[in-house]
């Protein structure tokens, strides 16, 4: 199973689409590693510079409908090769969310009020998250504070993370 701990990148906007995450012009790359420099190249978010702000980040916290638009699995791949394996959002676009679990990555939805709270309390400080999958809890730490945040993870999605993705799961069962 992948590791879902580390430093948080806050992206304060709803509807961040897959063209913003990885523009179509890079879909001619056949290796995942080649996508690395282009993550968020087209993002429409004032004050965010991927070259400056991505370094060392392992987790994203963002608003609603993250990953809308194209079906490209290059979006989770571009995140993964940059070290990001967990995205926490108020909601996700269907295909993006499924692609994350299909790759054995984690996409967790929290209630919008909880997301608001995390932005208010932590977004302007260096923040880390430790994920306890057994207890369905994140420990969020930053700004001299620490908070436990519960989450729920549907059984099927959990199974996908545990076996390493949908190919392994389907191949064993169907």
């Amino acid at each position: 199973m992948k590791n879902f701990n580390g430093t948080v990148l806050f992206l304060n906007r709803a509807d961040i689409n897959t063209d913003e995450i990885i523009p179509a012009r890079y879909l001619t790359e056949i290796s995942k590693e080649a996508l690395k420099p282009y993550l968020f190249e087209e993002i429409h978010l004032d004050g965010f510079d991927p070259r400056r702000d991505l370094a060392g980040k392992k987790i994203i916290i963002t608003r609603s409908n993250f990953g809308c638009g194209s079906s490209r699995e290059h979006a989770p791949w571009a995140l993964e090769v940059n070290g990001i394996k967990l995205v926490i959002a108020a909601s996700f676009a269907r295909i993006f969310r499924q692609n994350m679990f299909n790759c054995g990555m984690l996409a967790v939805e929290l209630p919008p009020a909880r997301i608001d709270h995390l932005f208010e309390e932590f977004a302007s400080h260096k923040t880390t998250i430790t994920t306890d999958l057994a207890r369905n809890r994140f420990t969020v730490a930053g700004a001299g504070k620490q908070e436990e945040v519960p989450f729920s993870l549907p059984a099927f999605d959990r199974a996908l993370i545990q076996v390493g993705g949908w190919v392994e799961y389907a191949d064993a069962r169907y």
Binding site: A14, D15, N17, D19, E20, P23, A24, R25, L27, T28, E29, I30, E41, E42, H44, S64, N65, C68, G69, S70, S71, R72, E73, P76, S91, F92, A93, R94, I95, F96, Q98, N99, N102, C103, P154, A155, F156, A159, G165, W166, V167, A170, D171, R173, Y174
Partner: protein
């Protein structure tokens, strides 16, 4: 309890319920193109599982960048081509016979009422126009589809939209779907299926229904569905005549892919289009929509008529009617990309290609091309395109470019005026 169309299709294709409301369903077809499939093929090879579940149920096309524009796109095409040969995938469409996936696969009769279809492409929802369940998926789902012929989805929840009224002259399926996306928002149908019902849909051709369903994903929907009727049967007749004794017999059989009268919906929305005006998007989201007249005069650098949304013969006919005898504005580059070779051929026969060329349009081969900013019309930084495509995301047609989505009629009128405008021929 009555069932929606998608519930009926799921129940008849059910294989497994691994947890909660997740259903693994059997697939009738898996469609492939050269952008998302090569990665799946390479991964299957790497895992020692280079197999296909049924070569007759897999259809493939090179459409996004064709002819190849550089070594990388050539390599993508080659991986798909070699794989199609290796596995005897007979329905594989390459240079000279290829067209945009969501236009060519229905045209070849590969989409039928009641089918389940996946493809590594978000606009796979287009095929719902035939009363099928069709969904865009990522590479891993595609990979499992190719290998096993199955896919997992949450059990469907459906929104029904009753499209009421009569479309005014100069207002088309594209304007209808833009108005629906504006109403629902880009997130309004996420994880849901939209059934399009009502007199406006009944009066639509299959081409217009495909335009409608094509953009269901822009409201987040898994699939847009229209009910099969005479129009569907007529469109498919050449392909299904061996299966049914007559058209009425086909129609009777396809009735099973209509919803039950007591079907349960998440929401039922009445959407009246009697007063609808031609619409256009502004900004970087497809739900940011205004009447064309509110954007009148916006300068443009390029007009693009094509794509899986509006590159079919009807679309070209409408645009050509607006353009006939007029000239593309001197400051504008006009590009038209017929969606398939059949559309191209038909447009040649009807004199439509001549009309476009005489007006100063560049006519390209059938390809996705500029729609996703890969070739045949990429925008420069700061340029503006009036486009019949389906996405206006930042950088979609080229880094730093702006895209305004609109109908072929509006795009054609804008090409002549050099700025966003309504077509004069519809003004009374």
């Amino acid at each position: 309890m009555g069932k929606s169309v998608a519930e009926k299709i799921f129940d008849s294709h059910f294989i497994d319920n691994p947890a909660d409301d997740v259903c693994v369903i059997r697939l009738d077809a898996v469609f492939c193109h050269e952008i998302t499939t090569p990665v799946a093929i390479n991964d299957l090879v790497r895992r020692g599982k280079d197999r296909v579940f049924d070569p007759r149920k897999i259809k493939a096309v090179i459409d996004h960048v064709t002819p190849a524009k550089d070594s990388k796109t050539a390599a993508q095409g080659k991986i798909l081509r070699d794989w199609a040969r290796r596995h005897q995938i007979r329905d594989f469409f390459d240079i000279g016979r290829n067209g945009i996936c969501h236009a060519i696969f229905p045209e070849k009769g590969f989409v039928r009422p009641g089918f389940t279809i996946i493809m590594g492409d978000s606009h796979t929802c287009t095929y719902g126009a035939f009363g099928a369940f069709a969904a865009g998926v990522g590479t891993t789902d595609l990979e499992v589809g190719i290998l096993k012929g199955v896919c997992a989805f949450h059990y469907p929840q459906t929104i029904k939209i009753n499209i009421q009224g009569t479309l005014p002259a100069g207002v088309f399926a594209k304007d209808v779907i833009l108005s629906i996306i504006a109403r629902l928002g880009v997130n309004g149908a996420t994880n849901k299926i939209i059934e399009f019902d009502g007199p406006v849909v009944e009066a639509m051709s299959m081409e217009a229904r495909m335009t409608l369903c094509n953009m269901a994903i822009e409201a987040g929907a898994t699939c847009g569905i229209c009910y099969p009727d005479e129009v569907t049967v007529d469109y498919l007749w050449d392909f299904i005549q061996d299966e049914f004794a007559s058209r009425p017999a086909a129609l009777a059989a396809y009735q099973q892919f209509k919803p039950d009268p007591d079907a349960q919906y998440e929401a039922v929305v009445d959407h009246d289009v009697a007063q609808l005006e031609p619409l256009v998007t502004f900004g970087y989201r497809p739900d940011l929509v205004r009447p064309v007249k509110a954007m009148e005069g916006t300068q443009i650098d390029q007009v693009y008529i094509g794509s899986c949304t509006n590159g079919r013969i009807e679309d070209l006919r409408v645009a050509a009617q607006v353009i006939k005898g007029r000239q593309v504005h001197a400051a504008v580059r006009g590009i038209v990309a017929p969606a398939t070779p059949q559309v191209f051929r038909q447009a040649l026969q009807e004199g439509i290609i001549k009309t476009f060329m005489e007006a100063g349009f560049c006519v390209t081969n059938p390809t996705c091309g500029a729609c996703l900013g890969m070739s045949t019309g990429v925008l420069a930084e700061g340029e503006v395109c009036a486009s019949t495509t389906n996405r206006n995301f930042k950088g979609r047609m080229g880094k730093g470019g702006m895209v305004h989505l609109m109908s072929p009629a509006t795009a054609a009128a804008s090409a002549i005026a050099g700025c966003i405008t309504n077509s004069k021929i519809y003004r009374s």
